[in-house]
């Protein structure tokens, strides 16, 4: 691997969680998120020579992602699009401003996930592994859609609290 590839790989590895999360916030559909993430990875590689190394990489990569999202929004007239370009700009800035430590804390999420009890874990699996919405999850777990939505919110709150704790105390 040449030095350029090594460098772009190193930078992209660190930036990818931020870019992926930014795309998820706008696109929501996980498959479309994956498609866009791949496009952004290609664009980052192709544009890396123009990257000013004196500036932080994550905002630069998110800028590329923001441009891709702009194109995606223009070509998805029939899709349900929640955010306009101003909101997308705001989001891009918000993700770029998240401290690196917050991204690093996410590495504890697997450990925290392992601490969930059976039902919470099951809800996570149905929501994230099987990509089901609360209304679809409800009959599978004998709850109402509204209760599932609230339960998922509580699970995510617990997970956020868990990753905020000191390492080893998860």
């Amino acid at each position: 691997m040449n030095e350029r590839l090594r460098q772009v790989t190193r930078e992209w590895t660190l930036a990818q969680p931020a870019v992926a999360a930014f795309l998820t916030s706008v696109v929501r559909d996980f498959r479309e998120r994956d498609d866009l993430l791949q496009e952004v990875a290609v664009a980052v590689l192709e544009s890396f020579d123009r990257y000013d190394r004196s500036r932080p990489f994550v905002p630069w990569a998110i800028g590329i992602a923001r441009n891709r999202v702009g194109t995606w929004l223009r070509t998805r007239h029939r899709a349900r699009v929640t955010f306009d370009s101003v909101a997308v700009e705001r989001l891009a800035a918000a993700f770029a401003a998240i401290p690196a430590d917050d991204y690093r804390r996410l590495d504890r999420l697997g450990e925290c996930l392992g601490l969930l009890d059976g039902r919470a874990r099951k809800l996570c699996e149905l929501r994230y592994r099987d990509d089901l919405k609360p209304a679809a999850i409800a009959p599978l777990v004998g709850m109402t859609a509204n209760t599932v939505a609230k339960a998922l919110q509580r699970v995510r709150d617990r997970l956020r609290e868990c990753i905020e704790r000191e390492p080893g105390l998860a």
Binding site: M1, L5, T9, W12, T13, Q16, P17, A20, A21, F22, T24, S25, R28, F30, R31, D34, D35, L37, Q38, A41, V42, V44, L45, E46, F48, T82, F83, D84, A87, R90, L91, A93, A94, F95, A97, I98, D102, L106, D107, R108, L109, G110, E111, L113, G114, C124, E125, R127, Y128, R129, D131, K133, P134, A135, A145, A149, Q153, R156, L159, I163
Partner: protein
């Protein structure tokens, strides 16, 4: 109501509802408006998405590992840094490593529950991976020449006959660049290709032919008339989405290698009767493709195998026609 008048609980309700897709249009619009008005709301939203997004990847990694027979177990939490671990597995491949990071997400997409759906999901991953700007070099071998048997070799570039595909070499980069090398019996080569925009043909001697039609010099190559143009793996693999029954097979003792068996079920489809695609669970493209029962009007070959030779990075201009002939050769546009 502006963000100043909206309390945090309500903002959280909107954010969580957005993440789960439960908000109505009015609430979605309201959330969008609140974010445009307030960087604080956008920041709160971004932090919420971080966990949501990582959960997707964590749980899908488990599913993909389980589907691939890589030791995944849905009741056991994945390692804390599974994304990083996956990267370490992918990077030594020597392909365009930066892309592998993005591609990994695609390769670890969740597979649905049954074998056919797993195969479809795996196929989708391969289609997307095949679009990546990585270089791959395949050797082509005819394993069944069909009822007419093996044709006589074409001795040289005279008389208009083209060499057969047996022993040909195929180089691909992404979805739209290829170089296809067939050899005459006298050792000279007919090189066809596309740089992504221009289709070209470089015979052993004489004029080089160029065309604005990228597909111009793909005719006569097996698969082209079978609706499965394997010069573009993405197109060829995508061709199996319709008219084929797919089955994902975990190859025993093959170090994580998998196989998709495709059997044509729609006989109106002109593709091969059967195809087998071998690939590695963590890899970015097929290692071997076998086409059996190609249509008679194609290359004449009944069954063809493409085997990956290597993924060495080719020169940047390798897919330009000029790379394959000297500057003095006359060039004709068609």
């Amino acid at each position: 109501m502006t963000h100043r008048e909206t309390d945090d609980t309500e903002i959280d309700r909107l954010i969580e509802g957005h993440l789960d897709g439960t908000l109505g249009d009015t609430d979605e619009a309201r959330l969008g408006r609140l974010m445009t008005e307030s960087a604080g709301v956008a920041g709160r939203f971004a932090k919420a998405v971080l966990v949501h997004d990582r959960l997707v990847d964590l749980l899908r990694v488990e599913t993909a590992a389980s589907a691939a027979g890589l030791g995944g177990d849905s009741t056991v939490p994945p390692p804390a840094a599974s994304r990083s671990l996956s990267l370490r597995l992918t990077l030594p491949l020597g392909v365009a490593a930066a892309l592998a990071v993005g591609l990994l997400v695609l390769l670890l997409r969740p597979a649905p529950a049954n074998a056919s759906a797993n195969a479809s999901a795996a196929l989708e991953r391969l289609v997307r991976a095949s679009v990546a700007v990585t270089d791959r070099h395949y050797a082509i071998r005819v394993v069944d020449h069909g009822p007419g048997g093996k044709s006589d070799p074409v001795l040289s570039d005279s008389g208009g006959r083209k060499p057969g595909v047996d022993g040909a070499r195929l180089f691909v980069r992404g979805a739209d660049k290829f170089v296809f090398v067939r050899t005459f019996a006298d050792g000279t080569a007919l090189v066809n290709g596309c740089d992504g925009t221009i289709g070209w043909s470089v015979p052993p001697t004489g004029h080089v032919h160029l065309s604005q039609d990228p597909r111009r010099f793909r005719r006569g190559i097996p698969g082209e008339r079978d609706d499965l143009p394997f010069l573009s793996f993405a197109d060829a693999l995508a061709g199996f989405r319709k008219g084929y029954a797919l089955n994902l097979v975990d190859v025993p003792d093959a170090g994580g290698r998998l196989r998709i068996d495709a059997v044509r079920t729609d006989h109106r489809h002109r593709g091969p009767a059967r195809a087998t695609i071998h690939f590695h669970a963590t890899d970015v493209g097929p290692e071997r493709i076998e086409f059996a029962g190609l249509s008679e009007e194609g290359s004449g070959a009944e069954s063809v195998v493409l085997e990956l030779v290597d993924r060495a990075e080719l020169p940047a201009d390798f897919f330009d026609h000029a790379h394959h002939h000297d500057e003095a050769r006359p060039v004709d546009w068609e």
